[in-house]
Amino acid sequence: MRKLRIRFGLALPAWVWLLVFFVVPIGVVVWYSFGYKPSIFSTNANDKLSFDRYVEALSPTFFATFQNTLWVGIAGTALCLIIGAPVAYWIAVKCAPSRRGMFLALVMVPFWTNFLVRTIGWQIILAPEGWLSHALQFLGVIPGPLGILNTRGAVLLGVVYNYLPLMILPLFVAFDRVSGPLREASKDLGAGSWQTFFRVTIPLAQPGIIAGVLLVYIPLMGDYITATVLGGAKGNMVGQIVASQFQTAQNWALGSAMAVLLILTIALSIGVMAAIGWLVTIPIRRSYRLTLEDAR
């Protein structure tokens, strides 16, 4: 009993810290979202509570931004998955074990550069007067100066770039867990390479895939910097309008409502995707059931 109390006490400092500096401020934001903006020079007031700010945040003006963010979020995550999975598979399965560390480090190196700086790197690359633009025009690939910058496409490119390592790493761990002998056993039982991949590797790597998808989707939805640097007017994302409510419009109540809606949107969309994923795998699960009793 005494051991138990000591051990729980170990977590107490973290509890208190997170409570004071995370839970309470977020709670205050939720509280603000029910308020309003009384006058030009004051930020908010809470004497009259209502859902008006939520109605305002979902008005057609801002609803389009939520839609845009959702589109970029889902498309970006899907692209990260499609682009990153082969790389993770290659490192985990096809690479010589001694070289794996090096390639993993290579994947993480861009991560060790400042997020903002590497996004600015893309701004340089995509500049209409830059060398890439001139090269592509010279080769006849594009008719005029490169027009990707300041569009939704540029934001998509930027977020896929920035979050790709976050997808590759968990996928690597997941594929790594599906060890060689298991795949060999599958082949011995008559499955081809693709069959092995889709019916053995992927289902077993499922937790890792889910982790990767979540690790990318969630920060991507709240992204603010990529949209600011590469997006221009078209790349408006919810993170930016929340920021602008606090930084320029000084309407904390509205900004808080938008922030709460952002969290709800993320949670809801994850729930929907999980439901879809579960529904899609029912027919597969009915005909084949693969269990792994000892995966390590």
Binding site: N68, A127, P128, T151, G235, N236, S244, Q247
Partner: protein, 397 residues
Amino acid sequence: MAHGGAHGQPPVRVLANATSARKIGAELTRRGFLATALAASGAVLFTACAPQKASAASQANGGPLEDKLSIYTWSDYDDPDLLSAFTKKKGPKIVVDAFNSNEELVAKLVAARGTSGYDIVVPTGPFILPMAENGLLERLNLDLIPNFQTMNPHFIHRTFDPKNEYSICKAWGTTGFAYDKTVIKRELTGWADFIDAAQNEASGKTSLLDDPAPMCGIYFWSHGIDWNTTDEKHLADCEAFMTKEIAPHVISFDSAPGGQIIPQATAALVQVYNGDARTGIAASKNPERWQWVLGAPATEIWMDNWSIAKGAPHPEAAHAFINFIIAPDVQVKQMDYIGYDTGVEGNQQRAEEAGLENLDMVFFTEEQIATMHEGKFTKAQERIVAIWNATKAAAGA
């Protein structure tokens, strides 16, 4: 004082005022020392957490300059060489941060409530009195700014701050646009042409200022309406116009397109301030492709001012800097860098003698100035910000 150590220990020297010293001496046994130390550290901790009057900075009195100075201003609005020259001459190291609009400046100061750390801020005229009334600005001590006497009389004692209690002119300018002649092959002469080009040749290549008032000004100036109107019908029309007719063609909102958009030609039609246009076009690889147009038939005249934020941690340095930067000898360099008239007496003559280029974008004729209208801080302020938000959201759709 030194206290002969009890029990044969070496004497302990303690630095304290007389009364405390006696008390400390009495308690300076080993046990007592421990107890006192604990109490003292507790007191220190308590003081760190004890309620303090918000912002210790008070009026500057001509005391010694602090070692730092923090400026919150518009983008790229001071010659970096002048900033280093100030540090070399007077000492304080300068840190510069930028905002895109007065609303952002106000929002930052209001949110921080004196803890922002900024000393000098640069608001535009109409915002100064409301900011002062809401406790965001410190009064200036003009005794510490003798160079105030050298200012051009036209640019001091303006209606927004008649006694210059809170502000001194930093620069004045106007708003117009620049267009890429290789994309827009006809001549544009005013806001009506701007709107037309935005909807045609420059669709998807238009950039607007990221500042609520001048952005909405496009509608008012081109339709002959006073841009300080509070008429709800006019404001509703403005919102409908901006969100439906203009926003779909906009590729970026930037208050300082001379930094990147014009040199990089990321847009072909750019709403821009005159000095920024001058800088941007000069920095472009082929400046001849750009043409600057003063907003017509009406546009704004704005004046940015040096002010000191409430709670400024380095008020002495702030005053010294303002005095330094409005001195006549640095004006030519500053004007050449930022492209605006800085409001000091004799500036136009100085600039002409120094042979600065494109002075028609810095100094204007009487007829041109007659078309420029000052902005006012009205009760439509929030509505204008809402229109700005809506336009940005519509542009992103």
